[in-house]
Amino acid sequence: MEGEDGFDPTLLKKKKKKKTTFDLDAALGLDDAAKKEDLKDEGAADPAAAELEDNLDLESFGKKKKKKKKPFNLDELEGALPDGSDDVNNAGAAEDPEEEEINLDMDFSMAKKKKKSKKKDLDELFADKVEDDKSEDKENVEDNSSTWAGSDRDYTYDELLKRVFEIILDKNPDMAAGRKPKFVMRPPQVLRVGTKKTSFANFMDIAKTLHRLPKHLLDFLLAELGTSGSMDGNQQLIIKGRFQPKQIENVLRRYIKEYVTCHTCRSPETILQKDTRLFFLQCESCGSRCSVASIKSGFQAVTGKRAAIRAKTT
């Protein structure tokens, strides 16, 4: 198996290089000879693929090529599928070098890649995905390698970005609905009310997207900002003091880090439970459970008029 996996990308690479030279030749009118060469190179294994490539000659590279590659890979994979789990493992092993390769080229895609590979591991662990899915995964992986390995020209950023997203969507159909939007939060709408107060208009929405009790978030915000505030009649938060949206965003970010994302796996799918006066963060995806710091406002200096305070207390 190892040999085959190692062989596959090189084969593709060869093909592609052929094609680039081939294209030039075609332009020069050496079409026939080159075609023969090409066919020979690919061998009798898949003449269909060869034909496809011939069709490609006059067309642009990149996407088209990719699409054509896919069916070819699928055929091969279907042939290899009966081998079962071994295959998948090998695909995983084959993925690593590719990742490094990509790393050299572009960091951004690397991050995406990592996520993907992790996902795949999970799939394998839980084994609740159908074999077909696995084959698709593998197909994608190999597809990657092929397009990456055998390129003579530089890929543009847009192309790569598009590709990455396509692959991600391909592999995780539930991604669009599930994981992504949680990271993407709407920015807080912070408006000034008069000169001394600030209104946080979509406070309830944010509390809802974070799956936290508004009260908890409110406590944290007020403790962190060192002010007082309360909920308005139409569900917005009025905070005493002047605050910019950016400042509120900072505080929210800290809240998310402490009380929303799992401390172990950083997944936002967590539940905050109260247990004997302590708050515990229970992760839905990795199952870890840890206590989080209680919200304390700490020392508050006297900022108002002392005379007024004295008048109030007496």
Partner: protein, 110 residues
């Protein structure tokens, strides 16, 4: 001649010795509070009671060119209070002087 095995030995001796060089334990909370207008206050809570806070505040005032006091609080002990947003200054200063380690500082506020 004494039998070495029967000597009493404090098992926590090393731990105590290790703690000797940093008196500060627990977090130092650095907060900011808004006053009227664009004025602010910075409070530093949780510095170890073994430090002389008055001396600290004196040098802080000089360093940051701001006023400040030490406030005695029944629950939180002595608290430094400095005028203006001195959060970054105080963080740098505390680590530079060696009163607290960077991971013992906790900055609150926006």
């Amino acid at each position: 001649m004494s039998i070495q095995n029967l000597n009493t030995r404090d098992p926590f001796a090393d731990a105590i010795k290790g703690n000797d060089d940093d008196i500060q334990d627990g977090l130092v909370h650095i907060r900011i509070q808004q006053r009227n207008g664009r004025k602010t206050l910075t409070t530093v809570q949780g510095l170890s009671a073994e430090y002389d806070l008055k001396k600290i505040v004196r040098s802080c005032k000089k360093e940051f060119a701001c006023n400040g006091t030490v406030i005695e609080h029944p629950e939180y002990g002595e608290v430094l209070q400095l005028q203006g947003d001195q959060r970054e200054n105080i963080c740098q200063w505390l680590t530079k002087v060696g009163l607290a380690k960077p991971d013992q500082l906790k900055v609150h506020g926006f």
